[in-house]
Chain length 357, copies 2
């Protein structure tokens, strides 16, 4: 059964890193006879420049038909002054929402070979392995009403709506409980239930779900405390589940604990396990086109894609093993460079992974 | 001119730590002939237990009349199952809102004597001195409409509103620009202007204000990136200004970078410089009543009170010098204890500060 992967390089370093991941996927496709077909499309700033919209219909159609999507990154300063509806980010948000990719999985893992890259003390982060499950198609990102209105006083007021229904909370809760079952069996739900009504409902539904997963230990934490605990003692966490906005903040904080955000992949899944995969880092316009970006987060995103959307665990593990091997060989792109290692370009890193496969 | 200070011990360790701060204020009152009168009142869980409401009218009246308020902390597990409107936190939120204490100043300072308490590497945090200016009476904390409603489908939806008017943004912006003028002249405004309309307005107003403060260098950062940058390189920041919810999260994260949240005071001011002062840490119910809590954040909050609301800079500096002296003497409460130091109780720490005055 042939399966289709849509490649969306996007902006900034996106094209460079996706190119390396594509080579890796091609080789693994042959090695494991996966029957993958590749398509490509425009999204974000690249799409704005060619078609005047961040998510062209053609891209959305291809995305809907694809079994999985590999995205580079979107955004850059040249599009920052556009009105909100026309910005590169809307391409990303449109894909998430149209494909109903509600479950965002963001691992924060410290690679032992890169332990010294962290700004935290080694004993605080060594062996760190957290999974953040972020709700991705609801909450304040998509809540209505929203906008800027003029008040009677004549001054303007900006407003957004933070809303969740029971079923939205339940389905992301299930994903998180299931992830915890397959890991350390500890789930921490993060909310602000002492202030926000929407998160009181969130907490209630999480508590309800507990009955279906008696083997998982559920705890609750306020978001301000979670932001603190991630700095103080991050290894206390196994799986964290939270809403879209809190998840945006905490997953970036958690990623940075490792010091090597250039290594971290992510998955965004719908209930059919169709998924979009992308590195946690952004489009890094400052280094775009220089051939020095780290392609490993994108290559590891391809591995996640094989695991979650294509059910090819062995192929996923082969890629992950190859990445581990190049790190063992001491190869480093600039962002993870340290004394005594060998500095390589984006392409050299991609080639090294290919060779290690 | 006599001035009135309202003491609100609150819950958990609140009464123990406020008692020490009160001794310090009494002594400084005599030494500097400040003419301070002290009153006290109930708030939070303590008020619920006695009067069935977290903010009794009597407390609100006293607070309104007072020149400044010193608060311990509110909240504890015994009140966690109460409905939102009756919880201890509502006492705190009610004071903030009724007194219009819109400007929350939260310094994150690393005391050189306590450098080893941080979970971050010494070179990343040594000399850290950030001021977070958080808007405290608007945003999603107070936005209407809010609640839980039943949808036509029969399921419930929780919702809150994140809103800011131009004038709300402008007044907190001015406080932040002025704080930056008196410090390192760098201001970073944190928003999520790539997704939330309310923060597009926020960014616009901050940009407008720039003209009034040409000596301050203004930058903007998305909240997810700010959460990352605080971990990666916190010393890049001087003053950070942001809304109520983002400020809640980022100020706790920043405080924890120091590893000694038991040391950090905060101020909440209105436009008449009337203010409420409280430690950044919470009510710590797990250690309440044991006499081991750290009173220094509350004592330093009293110093902030003298500086900001009572215009007694010399008296404020005297307290801060005394705190620094007891740290130099190697005295440590349990939370900041390290090898070779002398472990002391809450009361011993308070007495040591008194002696150092
Ligand atoms: C680019 C932006 C809209 C996006 C988000 O806020 O979700 C990004 O920060 C992310 O986390 O994927
Ligand atoms: C207790 C709670 C309501 C409060 C807040 O969220 O503002 C606290 O976390 C704080 O930061 O002062």
């Amino acid at each position: 059964m042939p399966r289709t992967i849509l490649m969306l390089p996007g902006d900034g370093i996106g094209p460079e890193i996706v190119a390396e991941a594509e080579k890796v996927l091609n080789k693994i496709n042959d090695q494991f006879s996966l029957g993958l077909n590749f398509e490509s499309g425009l999204v974000g700033g690249a799409a704005i420049d060619e078609t005047d919209t961040p998510l062209p219909d053609e891209t959305l159609e291809k995305a809907t038909r694809a079994d999985a999507i590999l995205l580079g990154a979107v955004g850059g300063p040249q599009w920052d002054s556009l009105p909100m509806a026309k910005r590169p980010e809307k391409g990303l948000l449109g894909l998430r929402s149209n494909l109903d990719l509600f479950a965002n999985l963001r691992p924060a893992i410290l690679y032992p070979q890169l332990a010294s890259a962290s700004s935290l003390k080694p004993e605080v982060v060594s062996g760190l392995d957290i999974m953040i499950v972020r709700e991705l198609t609801g909450g304040i990102y998509f809540g209505q009403p929203r906008g800027v209105r003029e008040l009677e006083s004549g001054e303007r007021q900006g407003y957004n709506t933070y809303a969740y229904t029971e079923s939205e909370i339940r389905r992301i809760g299930r994903v998180a409980f299931e992830a915890a079952q397959q890991r350390g069996k500890k789930l921490c739900s993060v909310d602000k239930a002492n202030v926000l009504e929407v998160t009181v409902l969130w907490r209630e539904i999480m508590n309800d779900l507990r009955r279906e997963y008696p083997d998982v230990e559920l705890s609750h934490m306020y978001v301000d405390n979670a932001a603190m605990q991630l700095v103080r003692a991050p290894k206390q966490f196994d799986v964290i589940v939270t809403g879209n906005m809190f998840g945006d903040i905490l997953s970036d904080e958690a990623a940075m604990l490792t010091g090597s955000i250039g290594m971290l992949p992510s998955a965004s899944l719908n209930s059919e396990k169709q998924g979009m995969y992308e590195p946690c880092h952004g489009s890094a316009p400052d280094i775009a086109g220089q051939g020095i970006a780290n392609p490993l987060a994108t290559i590891l995103s391809a591995a996640m894609m094989l695991r979650y959307s294509l059910n090819e665990e062995k192929a996923a593990e082969a890629i992950e093993a190859a990445v581990s091997k190049v790190l063992d060989q001491g190869l480093r792109t600039a962002d993870i460079m340290s004394e005594g290692a060998k500095k390589v370009s984006t392409r050299e890193m991609g080639e090294a992974v290919l060779a290690a496969l």
